[in-house]
């Protein structure tokens, strides 16, 4: 009798475990299927290359794509050097002490702050205090601090996997420390650094709360090259922001689902890409 109870209990636990695991897979499949069924019909060449205009009768997200690309470029251009530099300092130069503890504490704290707080800060500091207003630049500056911890941490992990023999060998041959870092360490850690950078791009593409009050929501496509150069100083909504507005204030669910399809393709592509990259360069893999 007691053994039977035990068996029933064990089976129940096992059933619960399997159900929970299946839930994640079904949830993901459900999301993908639902979004694609609702949105794939909207996505065509015109949707991707034109701008929504009542006058011309077109619905499109080209302006938002340009905004997203610009924000990603500006943010990464600044965030990657700072993040990588910070990781090199923490891993190679700093002797563990007070400063390192504070820097690591600060990085952890930044990673835990929600995007809406970054958005508020960006609006108050970059937008109002520095007078940049609603602009792609304000948005990018805000996102730089937001993705910084992600890049720093991934680079630190990558640097930790480079064996010390590389460092000693290079220094032993008479190389200076920075020379060693530049020519030996960084190339060896490059796959990890790139993985971190790509993950940061994914984070930027999916970000919304930090951009709503910093980059704004304009969707006009710059007409000339000069206009494109000037674009960072103007308001611009990314794909994610446009999706939010389409689904809420504009009530245009077709566009919302169309953008959702594009977002899922980009974000999932990025994730699968980094996974392939990691696997390709993983020297510790078993198979």
């Amino acid at each position: 009798m007691k053994i039977n109870m035990r068996k029933i209990k064990d089976l129940t636990f096992r059933a619960l475990i399997y159900t929970s695991a299946a839930f994640s897979v079904l949830l993901l499949m459900g999301i993908i299927l639902y979004v694609f069924i609702k949105g794939i019909g909207v996505v065509d060449w015109q949707f991707l290359t034109s701008v929504t205009s009542v006058l011309k009768g077109t619905v499109g997200i080209a302006g938002n794509i340009v905004n997203t690309v610009l924000i990603v470029l500006i943010t990464m251009l600044v965030a990657v050097p700072i993040g990588v530099g910070s990781a090199i300092y923490l891993n190679e130069y700093a002797k563990s002490g007070r400063l390192v503890t504070i820097i690591e504490y600060a990085t952890e704290t930044l990673a835990g702050i929600p995007s809406i707080i970054f958005g508020l800060f960006g609006m108050m500091f970059f937008g109002e205090k520095l007078g940049l207003g609603f602009s792609l630049l304000t948005g990018s500056l805000t996102l730089i601090i937001l993705v910084l911890p992600l890049i720093t941490r991934n680079t630190q992990e990558a640097l930790k996997t480079v064996p010390d023999t590389y460092r000693n060998g290079s220094i032993g041959l008479g190389s200076g420390k920075w020379h060693m870092i530049r020519t030996v360490l960084l190339p060896s850690a490059m796959p990890g650094i790139i993985t971190g950078a790509i993950l940061a791009v994914g984070r930027i593409v999916g970000e919304s709360a930090a951009l709503l009050f910093t980059a704004g929501s304009a969707k006009i496509l710059p007409a000339t090259f000069g206009g494109l150069l000037n674009k960072p100083f103007q308001s611009g909504g990314t794909l994610t922001i446009q999706m939010y507005l389409s689904a809420t204030s504009e009530g245009d669910f077709d566009t919302a689902f169309g953008i959702a399809v594009v977002l899922l393709v980009i974000v999932f592509g990025i994730n699968l890409g980094t996974k392939a990259l990691t696997r390709h360069f993983d020297v510790t893999r078993e198979d």
Binding site: K9, D10, A21, I113, P114, I117, F121, M243, Y244, K275
Partner: protein, 300 residues
């Protein structure tokens, strides 16, 4: 040779500056949250603002009580944790203790992709799928009740479910790695004493991974408290007592939905809402660092 020495020194200086950026960022954010968030506390009064229950910022005699907003954040986060953590922990058990490489790979990839899905997409699907379901439930529960204000499904229950789903990837990945870190000796010893696999998991492995699991829970709390857009899309648009079938505003959604047009005291109060959220998050971060430290100390 001298030139090299200069390059070395410059490189070190620049790298140090890069590292200090994070400190500056945290200090600047903290400073700004306090500078902008504090004035309204003085203007409206600490008690009236934090514990007031009437939110009428645009009335002729405006009232700025955010107590229900604070409560809505705390309750929806708590409920999301109660739903999400058991599912997440069990999935983690599956990934670390039961699945083979192939099946585990599929579930693991699904979890990673769920983590990468932008929050607005969760919000959109919540609006289209969850809200109608909740509306049906609401109509069934409150049939014939004239005093209930119907929400069309945009209520706290929807917010809780969306949050519970959104914290899953975080909880699963942290729990999985802490379960995997448990020494195999422990499993072998438990099995050798005659315990079944399930007994081993629940009586030996999970207790041993306690501090890691706790870290996952705290991370989940931080994520749920800070989520803004998805909740804003499914939770309705009115400040109410946080009951399951009421439309609610949380700390985050209050900022998202009113910052665009607020001015004067109303705007300052929204900054205070931001400050309250920031303080909550700082407490969560502090607990997190302590939990991590405890975990590291135990491993040594």
């Amino acid at each position: 040779m001298r030139k090299n020495a200069i390059i070395e020194k410059t490189a070190q200086a620049i790298l140090t500056i890069c590292a200090v950026v994070a400190i500056f960022a945290v200090c600047a954010i903290t400073l700004y949250m306090f500078i902008k968030g504090a004035p309204a506390l003085k203007e409206v009064g600490v008690l009236d603002l934090l514990f007031g229950t009437i939110w009428k910022p645009t009335a002729s005699t405006p009232s700025y009580g955010i107590w229900y907003i604070i409560l809505a954040s705390v309750i929806s986060t708590g409920a999301a944790i109660l739903i999400g953590v058991p599912i997440g922990l069990l999935t983690a058990v599956f990934l670390s203790e039961i699945s083979g490489r192939k099946l585990g790979g599929i579930v693991g990839s699904a979890v990673e992709l769920l983590a990468a899905t932008p929050s607005v997409i969760y919000g959109l699907i919540g609006m289209m799928v969850l809200n109608p379901l909740m509306f049906k439930l609401e109509k069934a529960v409150f049939a014939g009740d004239a005093s209930h204000q119907f929400t069309g499904g945009a209520n706290m229950l929807s917010a809780i479910f969306v949050l519970a789903i959104m914290i899953l990837p975080t909880v699963i990945s942290v729990c999985t790695s802490s379960l995997k870190a448990v020494s195999d000796n422990l499993r072998a010893a438990s099995l050798a004493l005659g315990a079944t696999k399930e007994q081993t998991i629940f009586k030996a492995v999970i207790p041993a991974a306690k501090s890691g699991i706790l870290t996952g829970v705290v991370l989940g709390i931080g994520r749920a408290l800070g989520e803004a857009m998805a909740i804003n899309m499914v939770a309705g648009g009115a400040v109410n007592i946080p009951l399951p079938f009421n439309s609610v505003r949380t700390l985050t959604t209050q900022i998202v939905s009113e910052m665009g047009y607020a001015s004067g005291t109303h705007r300052q109060v929204l900054f205070t809402v931001g400050l309250v959220l920031y303080l909550f998050i700082m407490i969560v971060n502090f607990i997190l660092l302590r939990a991590r430290k405890a975990g590291v100390a135990r491993e040594d």
